[in-house]
Symmetry: C2
Subunit: 201 residues, 2 copies
């Protein structure tokens, strides 16, 4: 059986990454969202083992000490992390997973796993990103300026990514992400084990 593939998707805030990942998981039945660990309490409707693995602060710290995460981060006082064991299980079972992950997390995973497909999602232009951030109506001027600066910095790190999706039209971005996943499934390393079996070589 072929190994599952790991797709790590990053983006500056406002690029539409989360919506994009959700849509593609919805469209491709043979692709799953990787489930992270978190110390954040579950919200209404959130299910343990489906949305997140909800764990105590104590448990999370123990996992960090045991070096069980390929990446983890503290966000607004809560910890979030991706367990290496989860990724290895998906891989062994031949399940392709998508990780919705920030640039730092993606960098950590790449360094630690030495495999995976790294995809960066970009809004079309600086102007468009600003418009989207303002459109939310929740952020003030200062925050937006900081976000734009941050985006520019993150773009500088694109060099660590295999693919770039410019999210100009959402439908096109969905098609591009689907194409990347389909293409990676056709990569020689992904297909060859099965072929060798079929042809007895």
């Amino acid at each position: 059986m072929r190994k599952g593939l790991i797709f790590a998707v990053s983006a500056p805030s406002g690029a539409g990454k989360t919506t994009l990942c959700k849509k593609v998981v919805e469209l491709l039945p043979d692709l799953r969202h990787s489930i992270s660990y978190t110390t954040r309490p579950p919200r209404v409707n959130e299910v343990d083992g489906v949305d997140y693995h909800f764990v105590s602060e104590e448990m999370f710290v123990k996992m960090v000490e045991r070096d069980e995460f390929v990446e983890w981060a503290m966000v607004h006082g809560n910890r979030y992390g991706t367990a290496e064991e989860s990724l290895k299980r998906y891989e062994a079972e031949g399940i392709d997973v998508i990780l919705d992950i920030d640039v730092q997390g993606a960098g950590q995973i790449r360094q630690k796993l030495k495999r995976g497909v790294y995809i960066f999602v970009l809004p079309p232009f600086p102007e468009e990103l600003e418009k989207r951030l303002r459109g939310r109506g929740t952020e003030g001027d200062e925050v937006i300026k900081a976000r734009l600066l941050n985006a520019r910095e993150e773009i500088g790190r694109i060099v660590n990514y295999d693919y770039i999706i410019v999210n100009d039209l959402f439908e096109d971005a969905v098609e591009r992400l689907k194409s990347i996943i389909a293409a990676e499934r056709c990569r020689r390393e992904s297909v060859l084990p099965q072929i060798k079996e079929d042809w007895g070589i």
Copy 2:
């Protein structure tokens, strides 16, 4: 402007490569079939500069001597070749081209150009390939046996290819080839020049 990409598609005889390439060029308006040089006389309906560049034996030999081909071969007494100049022109103009090329030709191009995307098309099983070859009704038992042996040998050279498309259902194979082309267009190296321009970095 971004550089044009080169897609070289190879397959053992009977894998359906030519039909597949034609279909994808038909479906993607921004993809062209690379036009080869040949010493074969044009058939009815064939147009010089569209189907092939039809040249004399003398001219072809001169081009070989001047090392103008990235690959060339003699097939049934006629010479066929891909001119480096053509590929460079497509590349400079940002035009993506597809080359319908045998394993040896693809190997020569890869060695000479050191770039391009190499795709191998396979029939699903040895049994299926045999059925397809017999289905043509034009080849005898000996020829079919030789073809199968040849296919097995060519599969041994898959290691030189980036992607493998198993042509089980034609429609799926078309989708896979389209996905590979779309994904390669999203590769960091393909997209980054434009992004740097947009973001002024």
